[in-house]
């Protein structure tokens, strides 16, 4: 069934993007709070570019512009297939937003925690990974859930690079039959998945709030 394939596409792109986004996001967050000026600048630049430009534009760049650009400048044509371009663009974009979420959560932990940890003889990294970061989970769970929900819905932008996600599939069905009820199906499916995400994150938040 076409709607099923479209749903799978949507979930696949959102899933891949959030996983790679988290990995890269954590890295960028650390760069930003690191004491190295070079890493700070790199992280700042990355977040500035990927948060500051439209998601749609980023998709266009990876799908349409990349092959032409690399052909002109490097002589070889680096062509990325549509689905891969979607994975890359959404992952990089998410990472930018997520890195700020992570950074905010980490920096919101009382400075006294780090001082106490150091006083107990822990190194900076030991303190970070054993004391600070575990405490930051509680703070980052709501915005993380938010980002994931937004991501599931943003995947509908892939229609512009020839991919059939849930919304585009439903649009085609509506246009060929004139039945608007298909949009209700799509709405229900999006709602189902965002509700599942909400539920899971509520549980997670409760779990990490035990000590508050």
């Amino acid at each position: 069934m076409a709607i099923l394939e479209g749903t799978q596409r949507t979930l696949l792109i959102a899933g891949v993007a959030i996983i790679f986004g988290i990995i890269l996001g954590v890295l960028i967050a650390f760069f930003k709070i690191s004491r190295s000026r070079v890493l700070n600048a790199l992280a700042w630049f990355y977040v500035w570019v990927f948060r500051g430009t439209p998601m749609l534009m980023q998709l266009f760049v990876f799908y349409y512009a990349m092959p032409l650009f690399t052909a002109d400048v490097l002589g070889i044509t680096l062509r990325i297939p549509a689905l891969t371009a979607a994975f890359i663009a959404f992952s990089l974009n998410s990472a930018a937003y997520l890195s700020e979420i992570f950074r905010g959560a980490i920096q919101s932990i009382d400075k006294g925690q780090m001082e106490a940890a150091k006083a107990l003889g822990m190194s900076y990294y030991q303190a970070m990974f054993k004391i600070i970061i575990p405490q930051s989970y509680r703070r980052l769970i709501p915005p993380l859930g938010n980002e994931l929900i937004t991501l599931v819905k943003d995947t509908s932008l892939v229609a512009s690079i020839s991919l059939f996600d849930l919304l585009r599939t439903v649009q085609v069905m509506n246009n060929s039959s004139g039945e608007w009820v298909y949009f209700l199906y799509a709405g229900a499916i999006y709602l189902l998945f965002t509700s599942i995400i909400q539920l899971v994150f509520d549980r997670l938040e409760k779990k990490y709030s035990v000590y508050e």
């Binding site: 349409y64 092959p67 032409l68 062509r79 297939p81 512009s160 690079i161 649009q171 246009n175």
Partner: protein, 283 residues
Amino acid sequence: MRISLRKGEFTMNKIKMTALILSLLLVMGVLAGCADNGAETGESGKTILKVGTDPTYPPFEYTNDANEIIGFDIDLANALAEKMDMEVELVPTSFDGIFTGMNAGSYDVIIAAISMTPGRMETMLFSKPYLSNGQVILTRADEEMISTQEELTGMNVGVQLGTTADTAAEKYADEYGFEVTKYDEIIQTFSAMKAGHVDAIAVDYAVAIEYVQREPESYQISDVMLTNEPIAVAIKKENTALHEKIDAALEEIRADGTLKAISEEWLGGDYTSDIDEELNVVE
């Protein structure tokens, strides 16, 4: 209801008043937007002819640098309206929803390089055709020219979603063994072909000519013609009165040479005479 404004006292009445006023404003705004759109008259006092079109399709309808909508179909619409003593109001609509819009009453006719097909003729009326047309295959200019449909095997063909090119390519895809990639707008198929995502494009003949004319070093038209589907004005099924008026107006602009002039201006030649009306369409 007393509205208490004493400092420190936060009464529900003040909040209720504000909420009431805001909702009244909202309702007024919504009602203003739902103004009745019957047969209105334009500034000149003539009846308005609402024309649905998708201005992303040069040379038929597209926007110039000054963000005005221009093109073959625009000049055609204005010429027809003049003969019918009406005024054109363009309603830009995305192509994949353009027929739904007409059925919903957003506009009376569609002038957007609409090909006549038996399937469409069952759900809407068509004027007499005003342009000969068929779906052709375009390839990159630096590739070998293809001349038969068999040579498409193993290629990836780009089309615009929801067009007759889409339907034709889908049908031949299995027969000749090629893939079809569907894009929302026709310009995206050209960008995709340049980038290498597709190797060929199926599109209306006149559009192919336009793009090759703009960038002859990038594209070439092959000898492969997938269909024969002349272009006509689409009119809502029940609107037989308007149908007759448009056919009459079309006949007039054909007779006095206006139609030919528009064709020569936008397409570089006369494609409006001797139209092959025998449809060879894929459905």
